[in-house]
């Protein structure tokens, strides 16, 4: 498993496409995909949006990372880091941020590589 993380608009997906040779058709978009899509695709981006959609539907995500590890251990995941602001007033916003952190922390522990992208430059932190 590989995690590519960083702020919005930093070139994370372009970096991953080039580095891991991912074609456009191989990408799954977290904005509109199902869990099954994630579990059988090569690479997923907008993973933070997927988490948000799950949070909005009140779906428990404590087992998500484990499921990915078990069923799709080679997955390449591109996600925005979203936990770097003032704690939001709205409960849903807090739940989402927290879930992104928790799920990605478990995924990072399973990952062979974690790359953090800033301004298109990747820094390997694991």
């Amino acid at each position: 498993m590989i995690l590519v993380i960083g702020g919005a608009y930093q070139g994370k997906r372009a970096y991953a496409s080039e580095k891991y040779d991912i074609e456009e058709k191989d990408w799954t978009d977290g904005e509109n995909c199902t869990e099954d899509d994630i579990l059988c695709s090569r690479a997923v981006y907008n993973f933070h949006i997927y988490i948000r959609r799950q949070a909005e539907s009140g779906i428990d995500m404590t087992k998500l990372a484990e499921k990915i590890k078990k069923k799709n251990p080679k997955l390449i995941i591109v996600t925005d880091e979203v936990g770097y602001g003032i704690v939001p007033m709205e409960a849903m916003e807090r739940t989402w941020r927290e879930a992104c952190g928790r799920v990605c922390t478990v995924l990072a522990s399973y990952a062979d590589e974690v790359i953090r992208i800033s301004m298109g430059i990747g820094q390997k932190i694991k």
């Binding site: 936990g83 704690v87 807090r94 927290e98 879930a99 922390t105 522990s109 694991k126």
Partner: protein, 170 residues
Amino acid sequence: MFHLITGGSGSGKSAFAESCILDFQGKNRIYIATMFPFDEESHVRIQRHRKMRKEKSFSTIECYTGIVKLEISPDADILLECMSNLTANEMYQENGAKDQCVPQILAGIDHLITQARNLVVVTNEVFSDGRHYEEETEKYLYNLGRINCEMSKMADRVTEVVYGIPVRLK
């Protein structure tokens, strides 16, 4: 030794900070809890952290303001969590330091460094959502930012925890 630990929301800062304290292999582990339990959600969070510490034999001091007044034994390894709460308490609580919050907190940190064997402080990255807030919140961000910058100067080691991965900054 003073180790400053930062990170975003849900990044695993607490678990990492606790493991740092265990690595000191001392006999007296003290947890300074700064989160004031004002609602159900903070109770849940406090319970979660308590459970994490239970097996690690920490004694807990609840201190919402005025850490400068704490008396600490010289063999103590202290974990203070978290600076973002302490700053809010000092700014907004009735007996807080109000406008003097930055120098008061820094004096408190200096006091803990002098008194204890080791100090680990957990703070929070809350500065990168690109939003502009109301004056009070901006003042809070300004104060916490200054406190973090000053603490990092005082620290022997600074680590940012990213999804559970420690990234060393100093």
